[in-house]
């Protein structure tokens, strides 16, 4: 398939990108004050003496020179070994795998929410351009865009969890409740409602704006005039001819913003105490857990690349011009 060749090329092109990221972050963190052993000492809360610290540094290979450490890391990476997390005391791959589901779920639900409502609202606004629905939707979009996500999350907790007690204030699922099957799915779903809204809001605003602009753009294209000249009514013109074309820029944007969304989940996961990758990233920066951080960088880069790959596939399905070469 041509599409896969395209994706393969893209993957190959992202290898140097990945290398730049890994080496860059590695070197950057070397400049940070304190290393993972300092963070470990902080966790102990005192009483660690210099010998213990020196032992730990030797144990984690922190006594080696920077190039040697980098070389070791990259060589391990080539063998698909992400290394051992000093803070979590287990292989980085395990640590990340434990945290990945929550983030994936959160991102998927936030993305679906933002995409769906962005699409619907964008179309509605474009259909009634400059009318009151457009004004209302566009204003809402701007307000959503301007709302700091963590603040929205906090306020949502105050309202929905504290005062109304409709939804849980945080967490991924009811711990120890031992739910299984559908009950558990429902439980996780209720826990994800607020985080999804919080993370999705800004993207909803962005998609809405793009969709509206794109609809207006496409509505002006020649083939829409052709469709009208064929005698199609407006609804059919929009559904059959405009929508799919107008969705293309939005689909592209999803790929472009996968990284941003992952960044946003750092804050959202922290607000809602979700056991996700974003929070893990934050913790590993603070704990100087270089292996874990690099692991996350690696995985999130893979994630972004994967999302882009899926977006490419989707785009190719939507647009037959892609994948036909060129």
């Amino acid at each position: 398939m041509r599409v896969f060749a395209l994706a393969g090329r893209r993957l190959a092109a992202s290898l140097p990108t990945l290398l730049i990221i890994l080496v860059g972050v590695f070197l950057l963190l070397q400049l940070a004050p304190g290393d993972t052993v300092d963070a470990l000492m902080a966790q102990m809360g005192g009483g660690g003496d210099a010998q213990v610290a020196a032992d730990l540094r030797a144990f984690y290979g922190l006594d080696l020179s920077v190039p040697a450490q980098l070389g070791n890391y990259l060589w391990r990476l080539v063998r698909l070994d992400l290394g051992f997390s000093s803070i979590y005391g287990k292989p980085v791959a395990t640590v990340i795998l434990e945290r990945l589901p929550a983030t994936l779920l959160l991102m998927a639900s936030a993305l679906s929410f933002a995409f769906f409502f962005g699409l619907v609202l964008g179309v509605l606004a474009a259909r009634r351009v400059n009318g009151w629905p457009d004004t209302l939707i566009s204003t809402l979009g701007l307000v959503f865009y301007a709302t700091p996500s963590f603040w929205f999350g906090l306020m949502a907790i105050v309202l929905f969890a504290v005062h109304l007690e409709w939804l849980p204030a945080g967490g991924f699922e009811e711990i120890g409740a031992g739910y299984t099957g559908l009950r558990r799915v429902l439980d996780i779903a209720t826990h994800l409602v607020l985080p999804t809204l919080t993370l999705g809001l800004i993207f909803l605003a962005i998609y809405l704006r793009i969709m509206r602009a794109s609809m207006l753009e496409v509505l002006n294209l020649d083939f829409v005039r052709t469709a009208r000249a064929k005698g199609l009514d407006e609804t059919r013109v929009v559904v059959k001819h405009v929508l799919r074309n107008a969705m293309l820029p939005m689909v592209t944007l999803v790929g472009l913003q996968a990284g941003t969304m992952l960044g946003g989940s750092v804050v959202v996961e922290s607000v809602f105490s979700l056991p996700g990758l974003g929070r893990l990233a934050y913790e590993s920066v603070v704990q100087r857990d270089l292996n874990t951080l690099l692991g996350i960088v690696f995985v999130s880069a893979l994630l972004v690349i994967t999302v882009n790959f899926i977006v490419d596939l989707l785009y190719a399905r939507l647009d037959p011009r892609i994948g036909a070469g060129g």
């Binding site: 992202s14 990221i21 860059g24 950057l28 301007a146 700091p148 306020m155 990284g259 990233a281």
Partner: protein, 276 residues
């Protein structure tokens, strides 16, 4: 002139401008209304807004006047926004212009680096920067600028890619003009408007990024920043929610104002869109 008229005719753009002027007014008048250090102890902690006429918006959990912090915070937010945006735009333009004009391996290398910055979640990168270089306001501002440049770089590059093949650029080359002059004197002025409009997006994002950083307590504690206040208020969120709510509204209004002004500029610069 026509541009100005077009701008002033749009109600959202005007609302944005007024809001922005209010925020700028707050920033300028902060010293006049609240001459004391906004971080100094002003009264008992956690006085509700309106409960004590001395503290219009109440006090936070450190006993500091929230109103004073809101006024002084406007300075910080605007300053961070403007400076970080300038850094991002300047970096973005130079990198985008070089990549877009030269193409070939220069483009490849620069775009790989840009992709690297875009693949890595920018907030994560910001965290790393702050962990490495500390969190004083200068560092934070530079770091925000340093993680925000890829988008304007891509935009500039895209503009350059189309403009460099436009016939007026080719005409400049046929008369023997040098590359530097073509890039900066001929192409750049034409590539600039969309980038300048995009600056409003960066500024909005910069303000949001700083506040998110402050919320995680990673921003400069020596300045009265709105994000710091939200982060501080998080501990008393359940009852004294106003400590977080008030600066949140301030951020919202500022970002909204910047976005509206940006959109107004865009519409005024893009007459094709204005008609719709």
């Amino acid at each position: 002139m026509r541009f100005l008229v077009a701008y002033l005719r749009s109600p959202p753009a005007m609302i944005g401008l007024v809001l922005l002027l209010v925020v700028i007014g707050m920033a300028l008048s902060a010293d006049w209304f609240y001459p004391r250090d906004p971080l100094s102890l002003a009264g008992r902690p956690l006085i509700w807004p309106g409960a004590n006429p001395r503290f219009l918006l109440g006090t936070d959990n450190s006993g500091r006047d929230i109103a004073a912090q809101i006024f002084h915070g406007a300075r910080v937010s605007l300053l961070i926004g403007v400076v970080a945006t300038s850094i991002a735009i300047a970096l973005g333009i130079v990198i985008g212009a070089l990549a877009g004009y030269h193409g070939g391996w220069v483009d490849d290398v620069l775009m790989r680096v840009t992709e690297a910055f875009q693949t890595l979640p920018n907030f994560l990168l910001l965290l790393v920067f702050v962990a490495v270089f500390g969190s004083d306001i200068v560092t934070v501002t530079i770091a925000i600028g340093a993680v925000s440049w890829p988008a304007p770089a891509r935009l500039t590059r895209a503009e350059f890619l189309t403009l460099r093949n436009r016939e007026f650029v080719q005409a400049c080359r046929t008369i023997g003009m040098g590359d530097g002059r073509i890039i900066f004197r001929e192409i750049l002025p034409n590539a600039l408007p969309p980038v300048i409009v995009y600056a409003s997006v960066i500024m909005a994002v910069a303000i949001l990024l700083e506040s998110a950083l402050a919320f995680l307590r990673l921003s400069d504690p020596n300045v009265a920043s709105w994000g710091n206040l939200i982060g501080l208020g998080r501990d008393v969120l359940r009852v004294q929610w106003y400590v977080s709510a008030i600066p949140g509204v301030a951020i919202l209004v500022t970002v909204l104002a910047v976005s509206l002004v940006g959109q107004g500029l865009n519409d005024a610069l893009n007459p094709r869109l204005r008609k719709r």
